[in-house]
Subunit: 366 residues, 2 copies
């Protein structure tokens, strides 16, 4: 079957994501408001509404809503009429799961800010400065609560049972695989020089599973379409986009975003976390350079000059160029994969969105 190829531009993809975000934002806000009112929590408690409020603040501070957009756009893929409300429920679930993951991630990374506001852990630390163990405990529970809300928004919906169950399974599977991804993300730090393949696996599990494949599966289900027969192609696509996204984040973090003035941050270097640029630099460095790098990486008190020296080593070996090449390859891989979806008879416009949303990612960092 030869389908017409409509290729939206990177700008068109970004505009469409923004337009989904415009309708999704109020929906999320309504859900969070009724949640606070309807939730069966102890009337005597101040801590529970406070936790719900911190979860809400973080959920609402989210920016692009790319995951929600992927749900809505995937619901257009099969060209069938979507089950009323199903894509909305899927989008809520995936954004709540994202919120839950961020809450625990910021605790594990000891990060006090997120999305331009205090992280949940940062808020609790500020609320109970003399009680760090309680701040940690409340952050654990707030994240636990959010993770169950993510599944519950589907399971407790009034969608048909078959559909609600299938969508709940997607969220639970995405969560399980992402938790594994977070574990191997920590495992990476115990590896002197992880393989590139290891970093790719981290990206696949930690980002690709819940950010890419799960939203697409939710959207397909919302449109009454079983994603199971398409698992392999969806996974090849999500893996490529997940890796691309992680390289892009690491690139911007280490080399700086050309669209944003100001110094790049150097959190990964000071934490000794072997991100893509640091791994590539270490792999390419001379013995002498390696020795230099090892004296800097993982030192929280490393000076800016120390970090600049590491960055210079990376530039010397063309690591910036290497990463841009990798991103281009992953974008091409994802685009090629999405191109095969035309053969399934899927909507060319929606397929074009998925093909080009990877390019949008690659262009940001190049």
């Amino acid at each position: 079957m030869s389908a017409p190829r409509y290729t939206p531009t990177a700008q068109a993809v970004q505009d469409r994501i923004t337009s989904y975000a415009d309708t999704f934002g109020p929906l999320l806000r309504s859900y969070l408001i009724q949640l606070g009112e309807a939730f069966d929590h102890p009337a005597e408690s101040a801590f529970t509404p406070n936790a719900l409020s911190l979860v809400s603040d973080l959920a609402l501070a989210g920016g692009k809503r790319q995951r929600a957009a992927f749900v809505y756009e995937a619901a257009r893929l099969p060209g069938t009429e979507a089950v009323a409300g199903a894509a909305d429920i899927g989008a809520l679930a995936i954004e709540l799961l994202q919120t839950a993951l961020l809450i625990h991630d910021d605790l594990v990374d000891n990060s006090s800010t997120r999305r331009g506001i205090r992280s949940t852990f940062g808020s609790y630390t500020a609320q109970m400065p003399a009680h760090p163990q309680y701040a940690m405990g409340m952050t654990v529970m707030a994240g636990d609560l959010a993770s169950y809300l993510a599944a519950d928004v589907i399971a407790a919906s009034d969608l048909p049972a078959d559909l609600a169950l299938a969508m709940t399974r997607v969220i639970l599977r995405a969560g399980k695989e992402t938790y594994c991804g977070q574990m191997i993300d920590l495992e990476r730090d115990f590896t002197a020089l992880p393989d590139l393949a290891f970093l790719d696996t981290v990206s696949d599990y930690k980002s690709g599973r819940y950010s890419i494949i799960a939203p697409i599966q939710l959207g397909l289900l919302a449109a009454g379409h079983d994603p199971a027969p398409h698992h392999d192609t969806l996974h090849r696509y999500s893996r490529a986009v997940g890796i691309l996204g992680q390289i892009r984040d690491d690139y911007i973090s280490f080399f700086g975003d050309p669209k944003v003035t100001g110094k790049p941050d150097s959190v990964d270097a000071r934490a000794g976390r072997l991100s893509y640029p640091l791994r590539e630099a270490l792999a390419a460095a001379t013995i002498r350079e390696k020795h230099h790098m090892r004296t800097v990486l993982g030192r929280t008190d490393a000076t800016d000059a120390d970090i600049d020296m590491v960055r210079d080593i990376a530039y010397t070996h063309g690591v910036d160029e290497t990463l841009r090449t990798m991103m281009g390859q992953r974008a091409q891989q994802a685009r090629d994969e999405a191109a095969t979806w035309h053969l399934l008879g899927w909507d060319p416009d929606a397929v074009g969105f998925f093909a080009e949303s990877t390019l949008w990612g690659a262009e940001r960092a190049s």
Copy 2:
């Protein structure tokens, strides 16, 4: 309707719980073994199988399996044929949720042992002694993983969709309410002298919801019976039993278990946690005694003599007797509630089990 009253003895109840545990143990073990084999986790990772193994160790170390027994026994209540395998799935789910809760609870409480083995946090601390932040992070993720496994064992089962969805909702609701219970459990520590009603609410949410009402709802669903119309009576029962269980645990912890030789522990007193006995003692104490108590409670370096002094104050005001009376009242309340289940036409033998399993609890500490 006047149903024959068959009243099993406390010993018979205990025997029945043991007999359920004998068949449930191998089932749980099989599930955990196939989980490790079938789970989609990164082949390159050592951390993920290690986490699954720690989750398994803790799940298998569980003793009485009272929650699993409640599922199986509740499936007998309506006198209908249970859906094949449904009670097993419900029992697995509730024991996995319990495991997940314990993993995070021990992190929040900084406890290194649980169920006679190392807690998950204790294991990670032992595995990475130089990296406390990583030990914390891995414990957070292992608990997250277990909590999603609890819901997934139902959602991904081959039970009919309606039933699987209804049972998944029970687990998710139980989790959400228990997380709230754990939050107010911490909130209690920020209250100079919490009301007795506040402690009862903590017990209801923190224990009653997932330990009592959820297993009964799962069992009823497994038997094809909708628990929704019975929510109020089930909640009155679960609340009474949840409070009874918490008073009993606090009593044994503070006054010692007459059936066990050796000193009672004094963790709550040294942590400044106002358990039932400490709250009652503080509420009854003279101003001078209160002052004494306040100098001891919350001091991790309090001596045994200090704690004995607090215990003496409690004895002086008959707090042990007060708590035994409370336990008796809660047991009677639960028994009275269960007695009304005969009017629903529920199986007298199964009803008797629920009526007397509360007595079994009360007798242990008296």
